[in-house]
Symmetry: C2
Subunit: 405 residues, 2 copies
Amino acid sequence: MRLNAIIAGVGMTRFMKYPDKGLKELGTEAVRSAVADAGIDLADIEAAYVGNCAAGLITGQESIRGQVILNTIGVGKIPIINVENACASGSSALLQACAMVTAGLYDVVLALGVEKLSHPDKLRSFAAFAGAVDVDELNEMIAEMTKAAASEAGGAGQNRSMFMDVYAMAARAHMERYGTTKQQFAMVASKNSFHGSLNPRAQFREALTVEQVLNDRLIVEPLTRSMCSPIGDGAAAAVVVSEGKARQLGISKPVRVTTMVMHSGWNHREDEPDTVELCAREAYEQAGVGPKDLNVIELHDASAPAEIIGYEQLGLCPRGEGGKLVESGATKLGGRLPVNTSGGLLRKGHPVGATGLAQIVELTEQLQGRAGKRQVEGAKLALAQNGGGKKGNDAAAMLVTILEV
Amino acid sequence: MRLNAIIAGVGMTRFMKYPDKGLKELGTEAVRSAVADAGIDLADIEAAYVGNCAAGLITGQESIRGQVILNTIGVGKIPIINVENACASGSSALLQACAMVTAGLYDVVLALGVEKLSHPDKLRSFAAFAGAVDVDELNEMIAEMTKAAASEAGGAGQNRSMFMDVYAMAARAHMERYGTTKQQFAMVASKNSFHGSLNPRAQFREALTVEQVLNDRLIVEPLTRSMCSPIGDGAAAAVVVSEGKARQLGISKPVRVTTMVMHSGWNHREDEPDTVELCAREAYEQAGVGPKDLNVIELHDASAPAEIIGYEQLGLCPRGEGGKLVESGATKLGGRLPVNTSGGLLRKGHPVGATGLAQIVELTEQLQGRAGKRQVEGAKLALAQNGGGKKGNDAAAMLVTILEV
């Protein structure tokens, strides 16, 4: 969808485990910070879209999460709509905000993504992901994974999100088909840990060597712990405004969302594009750009192999050559096209509903030249890819966003 | 918000308890029926907004409910966004659909509301409502209700949704302040039961006398069982199209959504309007109509007193005279301004996420002259009011919709 919406301000909490903070504290911190960044008052917000995935299961708060969060800082009355699309909830909220502004229906809209995922009982956090697949297919999936887990050393299949099993299967298939190596997956994790070491809002700040990644605890072959995104809490927000409002605010370097494409998973055949490819192709076409024109990317590296496969799906390199691309250094800060300068989901963290908007925080700061030590010099065109859930052999919800300055 | 979106087709399941049907069966039945009514193919749908409230708690299906439902009938690929706003989830989905079409971003959008609320363990169904209030305020609310329940005969406080306690408190306040009587509440329930007896899709088809309502089992003073909306399952859907698409489809009597106003609850002072009043005032102003111009209304009668209070909030009569209005017969079929010709939430049923769209099903059929025995002759202008959740002293989400033919 062609859009013309301007990101007037962004804000986020650091992503981490916050045993003493709930949805309200996290959500309002991100909102206050985005509103201050935009130079507007809370009272200027005309509508809000709030993305969250697991609050019901973790905190008991269902249905009216956005109202409950925003009311604590006096934001009421305005339309507040809660949006849910698993790990793509944040981008789904952004899409609605941008569409409404593009349509001229509002001038100032808040998009908030927030998640409280950590729980003293880790199994409950993992269980929250079970709602993001077709529950009728769950038993089949579990059977398949149990079979796979039986061949694992230790077979500690319970102590992880089932999504890591899904990612591990995709990783093994990629290795078999294209000769991609575990070493290359480790390079992704090492690169993103370096980026994360430069990001004060990253859950993990330690820079890891490839060897450290490889020697980390095995979660499920070929994934070691540092190749998997962690459980964490956090919130991220963007204030989206119309062209006219942006002028009025005197934003010196307005970041424009020009295109967002969303697709839902379906049972595609092997020779058909999946949702990431479909979104990327359409987004490039609508924006009139190609992968070569991009300066910086945030993509959905829920696991290290997902980043390598993502390179290929987004057309950064031919099919099967994602491993070589990370090896070349092109996607590291200083390279031709840095990917996940924030540290990505792997290191910045992945509080499900907040993730899509945290990508927008990073890219907005990059395009405005205020990303500090992570700055990609002269970045003018950026892409975000954020996906969520599982339906059939694909993600349930996928979004690709193109931003420019 | 001024809108220009046309309801090309509507469909719904009968509302009732379906022990053997889940979200998929209910949702797809409503969608197929709306699509057939619109004379389009499933493949024509460009985007879908799916409203649901309690699936996570009742069925375990969270996050990607819309994808899971729609994929079973081959609807994939397109953007599917899950929308949650407690009992106003269905109208919230409709608002997004209408806004996107009005903006010209899509020509054919599906709005689906679906709920699986019944559960062999009734307490679990009641518990599902707990997520629709601020869970941090829950303990206070429960304490207040327990105090109230202590003075009840029997004090069977656990066997009902806490929302009935909230409604009962509002009813008692209205009785004290304005002299409204239990008899008048019973008249609402009796009237709606008569309407429901004419509606093949109503959960309850029995017409009740005022005496039968009064003699029914007491839930919480002054509410007897037939003054409370029941637990039930169901789905309702609308196909929303642009002006151009409506012409192309050759719809003979297009029903137009001209205005939808949404507000979220806040802690208003006694002298400030609540969300219903606020939505109604703005909707009348934007549509350039007044309550006197309306021909038929579906309002959120989650309890019988809520309908009487609703008359006043919507400006159908002065404050405090809602009881007299129902007594006058004006709001019964054949009266000046029939309200809840479907049977309302009380008798048609109230499967939370489906309710707002079921109101649109009824009003669309009324405006097109195909409501059968429930037909309001010559109906040209209709209003729907749908609210959800609780925040502070108000609903968390409130919507008023104006439709015309």
